[in-house]
Every structure is written in C-alpha cells, then in structure tokens.
Amino acid sequence: MARHIAERLGHLLLVLWVVASLTFLMFRLMPGDPTLNFLSPTFNEEMRAALLRGFGLDRPLWEQYLIYLGKLLTGDFGQSFLQNQPVSRLLWDALPNTVVLTLVSLVLAYGFGIVVGAFLAFKRGSVAEGFAIPMALATRAAPEFWLGMLLLALFAFQLGWFPTGGAVSPGGTMGTLTDRLTSGDFWWHLCLPALTLTLFLQGLPLLLMRATMLEVLNDEFITMARMKGLSRWSITMRHAARNALLPVVTAFALGLGASIGGNVVIETVFAWPGIGRVLVTAVQSSDYPLAQGAFIMIAFVLVVMNTVADLAYAALDPRVSVGARK
C-alpha cells in the first residue's frame, strides 16, 4: 500500500510538472501579450516596454521558465498581471465556491442517479423506464449553457424565484467559507447553478447504476438469494444495489475532479465566482500567472481525485488489492 501511494505521488508530481510546463509554453506561444489590453492612442513602445518589464516578460523564455518553476516549488504562483494580487489568494478565494457548487451538484446528481437507476433496473421494461431513460439521456446531452439559460429564463426571469447570478446579493459580503455555508443568501444563489449542474451530471450515475444493476442481477449470488426465498425488493436493494455501487463510486470521484475545472460554462452563465470564471477571465486577458495557477490547481484536483478513486475502489472491494503484485 505504501509503495502504491508513493507511486501515485510520483505520478502526481510528474503530471503537475507536465501541466505546469505546457501551460507556461502554451500562453507564451499564443499570439499576443498582456500589454494588448492597454492599447490606446497614448500607448507607445516606451509604455509597452515598461509594462513588459513589470510583468517580467522582457527576460529570455528559459529564464522566465526557471523563475516560474522555482517559485512554484515554494508554492508561489506569482502575481496576477491584471488584478495585481497574488494568484494563490485569487484562487483560494474562488476554489471554495467551485467546490461547494461541484460537491452539492454531484451529491444530488449521484444520490438521484443511484436511487432512480436502481429503481429503473428493478422496473425493467416498465412505462417508467420508457420515460425516464430518454429524459436522462436528453438532459445529459443538452449543452450546459442551454440548460442554464432555460432554468434562468423560467425560474429567474419569469417566476423571479431565484437570482440571476452571483454568489451573494448586491453589496453583500462573502466572508469565510463558514460564513458562506451558513448564509441563506449564498444557498439561494447556489440553487440555479447547482440545479443546472445536477441535471447535467445525473445521467451518468443513473445509467451506470441501472446497467450495473442489471448485470449484477444475473450473478449467481442473486440466484442464491432468490433460492433462499428473499423478497425481490430485498434482493435488489440489499444485495444487488450494494454490489452495483462500485463503478458509481469511482465515477463520483472522477466526476468531482473533472467538474472542478469543467464548470467554466455554468460559472459564466450564472456569474458564479469560481475557478472556471477565473480561468476564462485570465485566458481572455493573457493573464499568464493566473491562468497557469488555475490550470495547475485543476490538474492537481483531477489527479488527486483519480488517486482517491483508485483507493476507494480498493477499500470498497476486497477483491481489489492495490499493494500486491502477483
């Protein structure tokens, strides 16, 4: 187990180095630089040179790269070019919002998906299944921005039940994570983005649960349970569902990692101040340090969640042994 964890840690560092290097090169090879944000009739070469010096972009590429890696090793993501605040502060401000949005949506989506998936497996061939499967597929296939706009139009513009965007009401303060989590205003603002993400995410666990359940229901131990005279409900829920959960748990962990960086569209539609918004703004304005920091953070979460998925699988299924190599 210790060796496995060490291996995983090695992979993590390797992936982070690759992501760090790729994002560094990607932004510098793209056309344009941050000074293009300031073009005006009073803008001249002298001004550009001064700004580039200020950003450290007048140095040779290799030197910039070494400085960047050196700072990363000490946990310093640098200073945002445009917001002029430490990148780590901007990311740490945004991360809790993304984590809350993602976790709430995933828990709701997986809770719903697992229960309804198991139910549909139980009701195989019924009218309910005929209705639910296409609905699950449709919401899964619908573009997030479309789904978000639809919910906005209905619940915010027409009915006025929820706000149109942001994480707190105008002029309200976000405060610490605890302040946010205990604020009704924060949860009220979370409703629509979380609902959109939930609808978008629920298709996978629902279909996965249903498919795995159907597979498990054909296993011998289920036949044995039937022979024992257990009720159909008890067989489905107590025996089949528990065994069918394994791939869903893995998907949950992977989904958590993917969603941290994949909320760009929803966070933009709902002006939700998370990592996705930070990333979009940073890329649009060539704010290299901020964009690099956001990418590295997303990669970090993704790789960690992959590892968690592996470990969780091992913990849940005694047949999977991560340490042994036979």
Partner: protein
C-alpha cells in the same frame, strides 16, 4: 465555324488589348474583423462592405480573429494585413478632439504609435500641430474642421458609424429627471451617479458590467468599466462637464494667463478618506509622479508636456508647459487623479529598484478624496463604493455597486427582476431592450450618441491601399446609413469623421454626406479608372506596369 471564331476574336482582342494596358490583377484582399460571436454588429458590417467591394471587381475575404490575436496582428505586424475593423471608444477626455486628431493621423505616430495605418501627409501634420497649439477657440475650431475635410479628401479610414450607448434603468427606483446626460456619454455618466435621486427605500445604484476591471489605483487605467469607479473615488483638478467641456472640480479656479502657464487654485477643506487634509503638495505630487522615471507608463503621456509645477501659496500652484497645448485642461487636468502624497511617495520610492510599475500596486484600503469611497473590490464579482459624506458634492445615493455579469441575457433578466436597477453595459441587440421597455413600463431605455466610432482601417503600407483613388473608391462603396440601420439596428449614426456629432462644437456639419462619390458604383469605378486601375474580365487590375508584389494576408 468561322462565325464562332469571329465572335471569339471580337471578345478576346479587346480584352487582350486592355490586359496589355493593365498591371497585375489585385491579390485577394482580406478584412480582419472580430469574430461574429464577439461583435455581431461589426462582423455583419464587414460582410456588407465586403459584398459592396466585390462589385468593383475585387476578391474580398473576411478573416475573424480572436481578441488577443486580432490586436497582435493589427498592432505589431503592421506589414501583414490589408484592412481591419477597429474602434475608438468614447471617454470623457475625448470631449476635446485633440487626442484623436493628433494621435490617429500624424505621421510621427506611424512607426509604432496609433497611426497604425501608416497615413503620411505633411500638410495634415501641420494642421494637427497647429490646432494643438491654438488657444483661441474659433481659430482652433476652424483648424479642426479643416483637418476633418483633409481626411475626408484622403480617406485613410473607411468610417462606418458612431454607435449609441444604449442603457436602461428602473424608473420606480430612480427619478428619471435626475439623471444627467453627458455629451458623448449619455446618462451613464459620473454626473448621473452624483445627482441621481432615489424615489423610495432603495438608495443603492446597482449596475452591471460585462467585463471585470483591473485593479483600482490612482495611477492605473482599469479599463472602461473600472474607470467608472476610479473617476468617482479619486478627484481631479478638473472634470469634463455634462457639456463635454472641462470645468474646475478639485480646483476652485483654473486660469491660463499665457499659452505656457496654467494657474490653479485648490478647493479648500478637502480631506482624504484616511482623514488627512488634501494639500497643495498632494496636488503637485499628483501632477509630477507619473513623470518619475518609467514607473507610471499609463499616465506618463499626460504629464509629458509639463515643464514644472510649483506652489505659489498654501492653495495655489503654477504649471509651466513645454509647448502650448490647447487641450491641456481636458487631456491632463481632467485626467490625472489626485493621489495622497503621504501614501504614494513611499510607494514610488520603493518602486525605484523594482521592475514593477505603479499600475501594479493594489492598496489594502485605497485612499482617495472623491465623492465615493471603495468599500470592496472583488474584481471578478462586484465593486462596492459608498458615498463620501464629507465631500462637497456628496451623492444622493448610499452606495454604488457594480456587478460583474458576463452573461448579457442574465443582465437583462436582472434588470427586469430588480436585482440591478441600472443596465449600464449592454452589448446585445438594442431592439430586445426596446421591446423589454415596451412590455415593462417601469423600465426606461436611454440612447445617446457616443464620442467613439467604428471604422475600417486601410493599411497604406500595402498596395493598392497606398493609392488615394483606390481608398476613395472603397470608401464611396460603404453605405453608412445601411450599416447604422441594419448592422447596428438603429443604435448608431453614420460616420465620416473621428469627431462625433455628439461634440457639436467640433463637428464638421454634413461631412457624412460629403464622402467623395458616396454610394455610387459609377463614381467609385470612375475614381479607380482615374487612378489607373483597370477592370479586366470583371477583375480589378493595378495600373499598367504595376506588379503585384504583396502576398495576400495569411
């Protein structure tokens, strides 16, 4: 058989004869534009214009480029492109035409300044310089009008439109009569935020911004939307008034006894938000600091013409200029923010040995003396300002809150639901907003002509755009009225000058109808013919003997 050959000869021989008197065919020309998703109106305008140019026998392609790449190509690869869409946005200090008159077309700015089309005309240079130095209004106005006519003659740009600012507000929240429109800006002006009167319990102005600003400090220009906030947090000696002319603000009095001298009397009793008094030393520091080395590149151009600033009394100072500058009051005194010396002098000292510039500084608690104070600036979420109760122009509202809402549709919904009460930044179809106001009588839409303009820039470094006749023919084919009505949905007025009709004092009246050969295909064809261009089998060729040596844009 013989009849067919005869017919063929009758077609070919004249064509060959023409071909012998023509140069090479003109390469396919490319109009660079923003992507349709980024600016649908501009893209549609470019499509309409490309269609009209094809009637002249040109092959015209559109090449949308994303924001950063677009600026990179146009600005730093000046030999590479043929034609590009571009815009100059309206800013209060552009209420004086000097900034654009001088910077856009003076040949000294062609290499790497804002004359990015490479327009060179010594006569124009003299005019632009003369208007800059002429302090007599009538004489200066005559020079500015003359400059506009000269540009109309040479057509270095294909001017398209002056857009309108379309904003909306909730009239159950605000007394609509209390908004103060500013020339070339409209009611989304500082004067409105200072004077707007609440009708009920809601005393916070809540407005939207599509884009996040950069950090707020008195030596940084934080983008268009960020400037709405900084203008109110930091006072200036003068401010551009609702009429578009500079008027004393933090200065009680400003006098110009001679072309090189400006006398300023500072308003008494002002305080910084940290409680310290605003002194004459603060004012002097604010006028000098941008000139310290290269530590304030954004504001340095505005103090470049200042030779010296000296205190002449406890509340008075004298500015000596290096050269006469007619626009100095608006371009410098109404632009430079007053910054507290006790805070910023140590910062500038500290910056001396660092690569960073003053723009990059973010104070924990920004200190200003303006009518509003910064409460919070979460740049990706919202900026919250509160009224400064000790300011002589104390606003009638409690707070000014700018919500960053990248989704334009959500902003519309927020106006409708009351989450925001002023739609300040609207980039969508103006008709949708007008329809919303029709359906909801509480919402009032206000449209105001902007100081800025949209145009096509012809790159004179690349033939055939170096030919005046060719440029004039292209400009003649631009149907500006069609662009204003169709592409901009009526939220724009046709343009043929950089001076917006919103600036009545400086406008060359009727210039939009004086585009040489405007709207006439025959006139455009004649211009091309007079310039030596030849049409061969429907394709436009260079004049005789001219080879195509320029590679198409790729």
């Amino acid at each position: 058989m013989w009849r067919s050959l005869l017919a063929l000869t009758s077609v070919l021989v004249p064509s060959l004869a023409i071909a012998q008197t023509a140069g090479d065919p003109i390469r396919p020309l490319t109009i660079i534009t923003q992507p349709q998703a980024a600016d649908p109106r501009e893209y549609q305008a470019a499509e309409i214009i490309a269609d009209s140019w094809r009637k002249l026998g040109l092959t015209v392609n559109l090449r949308p480029l994303p924001g950063q790449q677009f600026s990179q190509v146009v600005w730093y690869e000046r030999q590479r492109w043929d034609v590009t869409t571009w815009q100059m946005v309206g800013r209060p200090e552009r209420g004086d035409p000097d900034e654009l008159t001088y910077n856009l077309f003076v040949s000294a700015n062609a290499a790497n300044g804002y004359d990015f089309v490479g327009y060179m005309n010594p006569d124009y240079d003299k005019l632009a310089q003369a208007q800059r130095q002429e302090l007599n209004f009538e004489k200066r106005k005559a020079l500015v009008l003359q400059a506009q006519e000269m540009i109309n003659e040479d057509q270095p740009y294909g001017f398209m439109v002056h857009p309108k600012n379309v904003v909306a507000f909730n009239k159950t929240v605000w007394d609509e009569k209390s908004f103060v429109p500013q020339a070339g800006i409209g009611i989304r002006s500082t004067w409105s935020w200072l004077n707007v009167a609440p009708l009920g319990a809601q005393k916070d102005v809540i407005l939207n911004s599509v884009a996040p600003p950069t950090n707020l400090n008195p030596f940084n220009i934080p983008g268009q939307q960020g400037s709405w906030a900084t203008e109110m947090v930091w006072d200036r000696l003068m401010r551009v008034g609702p009429d578009g002319l500079p008027q004393p603000w933090a200065a009680e009095k400003v006098e110009r006894p001679d072309p090189l001298t400006v006398l300023v009397t500072l308003r008494k009793g002002m305080t910084w938000s940290d409680g310290k008094p605003v002194t004459i030393d603060d004012a002097i520091f604010s006028l000098q600091a941008p000139g310290f080395g290269d530590k304030s590149p954004m504001y340095k151009p505005f103090v470049r013409n200042i030779d010296s600033v000296t205190a002449t009394g406890p509340d008075t100072l004298t500015i000596k200029l290096k050269a006469p500058d007619a626009a100095f009051l608006i371009s410098s005194l109404a632009k430079l923010n007053l910054a507290p010396k006790h805070i910023w002098e140590p910062i500038f000292d500290d910056l001396k040995n660092k690569p960073q510039t003053a723009e990059s500084i973010q104070e924990e608690k920004p200190v200003g003396s303006g009518p509003f104070r910064i409460v919070r600036a979460a740049l990706n979420q919202e900026i919250v300002l509160e009224a400064n109760p000790t300011h002589w122009a104390k606003p009638k509202v409690n707070r000014w809150i700018m919500r960053i809402m990248p989704n334009v549709e959500a902003s519309l919904g927020a106006l409708k639901s009351g989450e925001i009460n002023f739609l300040a930044d609207y980039t969508g179809d103006p008709q949708i907003l007008r329809d919303l106001a029709k359906a909801n009588p509480n919402i009032v839409v206000s449209e105001a002509l902007d100081i800025g303009f949209k145009f096509l820039a012809y790159n004179e470094r690349r033939p055939p755009f170096d030919s005046k006749g060719f440029r004039r023919a292209l400009s003649a084919m631009i149907d500006r009225h069609l662009l204003a009505e169709d592409a901009w949905g009526g939220a724009a007025e046709p343009a043929n000058s950089w001076v917006s009709p919103a600036l009545e004092a400086w406008t060359a009246k009727g210039i939009v109808d004086r585009v040489p050969g405007a709207g006439s295909l025959e006139a455009a064809q004649k211009m091309l013919k007079d310039a030596g261009f030849v049409l061969v089998n429907g394709k436009l060729h260079y004049p005789a003997g001219v080879k195509e040596t320029t590679a198409p844009y790729n």
